[in-house]
């Protein structure tokens, strides 16, 4: 699996993502600078990391989404390439229009950093297949704008097409534990072709037993068993 991490000024989870992808892929993930206009050849996965691209000034992800490199990321996605956006990466993906909706300020108005529990809502995706038959996982969130919203029609479509990948829940999987007020407890969603995932929680931060958890690892593992697009 050949993976690349997009690096914006202000990205600060780029190294964490690089480590997780390299670990999963068994070959070093590449770093791609936002001012580049072309992605490297032969990529399987492009990851947009967490952080505060361009300080998250104006709107989080807004300026990053308009960087030169994003045009080729969009083309890559249209060719069926795998794109993972975590935290600020999710915000960037909604700003580019690759994913629907928007991420508003947390309902509590405070930055929130804590472990949350997620229900794996679908294993029918290149990112969640390794989670077997769903279940509950634990990973950290760390964000100020993770409050997902979209219009009712879009929400219906996301549900109808089984494109909600993760929802916040209690440790036992029951309703609750939503850290930011996100609509329908949405923590992560998929694109129509299911090959783009945007999520607020950080799987790359809990992929190592030394850090107290490995639930994030399976997400990267899933990518390995995914056939490359034709």
């Amino acid at each position: 699996m050949k993976a690349a991490v997009i690096v914006f000024p202000g990205s600060n989870c780029d190294r964490d993502m690089e480590v997780a992808l390299t670990e999963a892929a068994g070959q070093p993930a590449l770093r791609v600078w936002h001012k580049d206009s072309e992605l490297p050849e032969g990529l399987d996965v492009v990851a947009i990391p967490g952080g505060f691209s361009f300080g998250d000034y104006l709107r989080c992800g807004a300026i990053g989404a308009r960087s030169p490199i994003m045009n080729s990321v969009v083309k890559f996605a249209e060719r069926g390439g795998l794109v993972l956006g975590v935290c600020n990466g999710f915000q960037v993906l909604t700003e580019t229009g690759l994913l629907p909706g928007a991420l508003m300020m947390n309902a509590g108005l405070k930055f929130v950093c804590r472990d949350v529990h997620l229900r794996v809502e679908t294993t029918e995706s290149p990112f969640t297949s390794a989670y077997g038959n769903g279940g509950v996982i634990r990973v950290p969130v760390a964000h100020h704008e993770g409050n997902y919203i979209t219009d009712d029609e879009t929400l219906a479509v996301l549900r109808g097409e089984d494109r909600i990948a993760f929802t916040y829940c209690q440790p036992d999987g029951s309703h609750g534990g939503n850290p930011n007020g996100a609509m329908a407890d949405i923590a992560g969603i998929l694109s129509p072709n299911r090959r783009i995932l945007g999520m607020m929680p950080h799987p790359e931060r809990l992929s190592d037993s030394a850090l107290g958890g490995t639930d994030g690892k399976l997400l990267f593992r899933s990518l390995l068993d995914t056939p490359v697009p034709a």
């Binding site: 000024p9 989870c13 600078w33 505060f52 000034y57 930055f111 929130v112 950093c113 760390a142 100020h144």
Partner: protein
């Protein structure tokens, strides 16, 4: 354009905070009246903040060396060897006054400043802490200060991308008019790739990098001399606003520059940025510096030389670069879209020459600027011995425990640390909420432990013992996580040093800190002094914050705080039931009387070694140090961490208050299997240290002698305490 400058005289000097004798010293030094800009430069170099004129002679008594120390105080941050060719670089610094004026920006720029101190040395920041002191919870200003300061610290650190993993929060009416915001940062570097501020080589370009210069923070004195200035509103001193995004780019650009070999020396621009940084680089390198202010990137119109030399604009660096590397350097600045300009060069003579608009604005002997800075041995009175403790009334143990655990000073700080990203960089092994935080040394199996401690109540009652205790508690917090204490940074917050009794607190605390750092082999490698923390003549409690760093050779040595169901609890260290200045008296009875608990430094060292030894032999499953609230609070915190109840038996000799809530030092509560107790007992005896079995882990209640409280009730009180204080529930 040149604004008409005010006439320099005695009274303008006074407006600049220079005492008559200090002004005379300047006249003698120059043999002439200084120019307006020169006066500004002197005032910046000679103020307490830059010159440490009241504290220097006492700071010199602190231990600052040791085999582990690569660079002690004097540079931007201390550098300590952690083996395998790597070093940890750290420092703590206060931003008290700005935070009181504008909590969000004041705290944010405090974090920015300390991060700069660390990466200026060539280290990538890997951990941050913040020690906060606020006024009484019910004081009208307190809540807004707390929320502003906490969101400011988070707003800056989270965006920059450093995990904020520890700190302290305390409330006391003595801080009603002066809150304290002490920010700590630590970074990681290769031991042979540390960068220093000493310039070298004549004719080398002096390069300005980072944000543009504005009138930020300029002008208390210019205000006072308003007559020379028609456009007052424009010149009005402004609060510094932090820009973490620029700081992050500055970090990456600086590390790339350093890797490229272009950097000869580097200094960040803090207070009076351009002045202090340029003088420091020249002074350390025994060179002169010539600056051309026309080249300085400015954010505002018509800035004068005076304003540029005194501006406190953030996110700026000054460097001396290798001329042959200029192109390479420029490429890096451009990559990160950072302003950069050659603003001068080094010269052979001992001279600080500042030009602006074709005029010489300052021409001073550079060495003398820092070399002849005034230094005072201020008169001081030792703090009188505390009166003996009046009788302590009988207490209801359950009620006392509930009151303490829910109080703003002892409840959970989750409300605070959840607003800080404490897992970014994916190396945080022990997060906030334990004794010390542990961050993995990236790419290795080693860990660094961080803690921040001081008990101002103790320091007030007995500065010497209080100073010792702050270091001892830091030593304990590190040891309780299994780390070997390495070195220390101190942030000394006190009132007005011109008052002998305040100076006495300062001198006493330093004496205690020095003794403890020697005895526990935790040399002071960096620090910061904040004096004049007074309002209407009311001083803060003496608050010498101790930030300490420990090393774990392997993450297997990490000791958790959460015991296992069925564990035995043993107490290590002598219990005499010391209640003077205890949290029990303060929180339950509003009493702050009696003496501070004495600290036996030899016993501290032994106890710490025993705890680490027990872990190495696999004898213990958990550990927690005893501090505020004594045995009762420590046992409760362990229970909360594990989600299992604990039971502690009453003591035959000591009364309940003394046994459960006494604050004798040098103690840890350890959890182990019944089978381990005998071996631990033997080891403790060999070390002449008391170790006794005091209870067990199990059930779903906290049981202290005859008193029992359900764990669920305790958890709600403990977890909800902070939000309740903030009026959120």
């Amino acid at each position: 354009m040149s604004v008409k400058e005010p006439e320099v005289n005695q009274s303008l000097a006074a407006d600049h905070g220079l005492k008559p004798d200090e002004y005379q010293r300047i006249l003698d030094l120059l043999g002439r009246t200084p120019s307006f800009t020169e006066l500004g430069i002197f005032s910046a170099m000679w103020n307490e903040h830059c010159s440490y004129k009241s504290s220097k002679i006492h700071l010199r008594t602190l231990p600052t060396t040791g085999p582990q120390v690569i660079c002690g105080p004097g540079e931007n941050a201390g550098v300590v060897d952690i083996g395998d060719g790597q070093a940890v670089v750290f420092k703590m610094e206060s931003h008290n006054h700005p935070s009181y004026i504008e909590p969000y920006q004041g705290a944010a720029t405090g974090v920015g400043g300390i991060l700069r101190d660390v990466f200026t040395m060539g280290a990538r920041p890997i951990a941050a802490m913040n020690a906060l002191s606020f006024g009484a919870p019910e004081h009208p200003k307190t809540r807004s200060l707390v929320s502003g300061v906490v969101s400011g610290i988070g707003g800056y650190g989270n965006c920059f991308g450093v995990p904020t993993v520890g700190g302290e929060v305390r409330f006391h009416r003595a801080y009603n008019g002066n809150c304290l915001v002490n920010a700590f940062a630590a970074g990681l570097a290769d031991a042979d790739k540390i960068f220093y501020s000493a310039a070298s080589g004549v004719g080398m370009p002096v390069v300005y990098l980072g944000a543009k210069t504005g009138r930020d923070g300029v002008g208390g004195a210019t205000m006072a001399s308003a007559e020379f200035d028609e456009t007052l509103e424009e010149k009005r001193p402004t609060v510094q606003v932090g820009d973490p995004f620029t700081e992050k780019r500055l970090l990456e650009a600086c590390l790339e520059l350093m890797a490229s070999g272009a950097v000869i020396s580097i200094q960040d621009m803090g207070a009076a940025g351009l002045t202090c940084s340029a003088v420091e680089m020249g002074d350390k390198g025994s060179l002169g510096v010539e600056l051309d202010l026309d080249a300085v990137p400015c954010r505002e119109e018509a800035m004068t030389a005076y304003e540029m030399m005194l501006s406190e604009s953030q996110e700026r660096m000054l460097m001396v670069l290798r001329p042959e590397k200029e192109a390479e350097a420029k490429a890096i600045f451009d990559k990160w879209d950072l302003d950069f300009a050659i603003v001068g060069h080094t010269i052979a003579e001992d001279r600080f020459l500042v030009r602006h608009g074709g005029e010489v604005k300052a021409d001073l002997p550079l060495k003398a600027l820092s070399g002849t800075a005034p230094e005072y041995d201020r008169p001081w009175e030792p703090t009188p011995a505390a009166a003996v403790l009046a009788d302590v009334p009988e207490i209801d143990v359950a009620e006392a425990l509930k009151a303490l655990i829910a109080s703003p000073n002892l409840c959970s700080r989750r409300w605070v640390w959840e607003q800080y990203d404490n897992t970014v960089m994916a190396d945080t092994v022990i997060r906030p909420g334990s004794d010390a935080a542990v961050v993995r040394v990236h790419g290795t199996e080693k860990g660094l432990a961080f803690t921040s401690d001081v008990t101002p109540r103790y320091c007030k009652a007995n500065p010497v013992e209080g100073g010792k205790q702050a270091v001892a508690e830091a030593y304990r917090n590190l040891s309780a996580t299994g780390a070997k204490p390495l070195a220390t940074t101190d942030n000394l917050n006190f009132g007005n040093p011109e008052k002998p009794e305040i100076m006495g607190q300062f001198v006493g605390c330093i004496q205690g800190i020095g003794e403890a750092c020697r005895a526990l082999d935790m040399p002071i490698v960096s620090g910061n002094v904040s004096l004049y923390n007074e309002t209407d003549g009311k001083a803060i409690l003496p608050t010498p914050t101790i930030g300490a760093v420990g090393l774990l050779d392997s993450l297997d040595h990490v000791i958790p705080m959460a015991p296992r169901d069925g564990d035995i609890l043993v107490l290590i260290g002598q219990s005499n039931g010391h209640l003077g200045q205890s949290a029990l008296l303060a929180e339950m009875f509003g009493r702050e009387d009696g003496d501070a608990p004495p600290v036996d430094l030899r016993a501290e060292a032994k106890a710490g070694e025993l705890v680490r030894g027990f872990k190495a032999e696999g004898l213990i499953s958990a550990a927690h140090d005893l501090s505020d609230g004594g045995l009762a609070v420590a046992a409760t915190e362990m229970a909360l961490a594990s989600g299992t109840g604990v039971e502690i038996a009453a003591d035959a000799d000591l009364g309940d208050a003394a046994w459960f809530f006494g604050e004798d030092q040098g103690r840890y509560l350890l959890a182990c299997l019944a089978g381990s107790v005998d071996r631990m007992m033997a080891a403790a005896q060999a070390a002449q240290t008391s170790l006794r079995r005091v209870g067990s882990v199990g059930g779903d209640a906290i049981t202290l002698g005859g008193a029992t409280v359900p764990l669920a009730e305790i958890r709600d009180l403990h977890e909800g305490g902070f939000a309740r204080m903030m009026g959120e529930r």
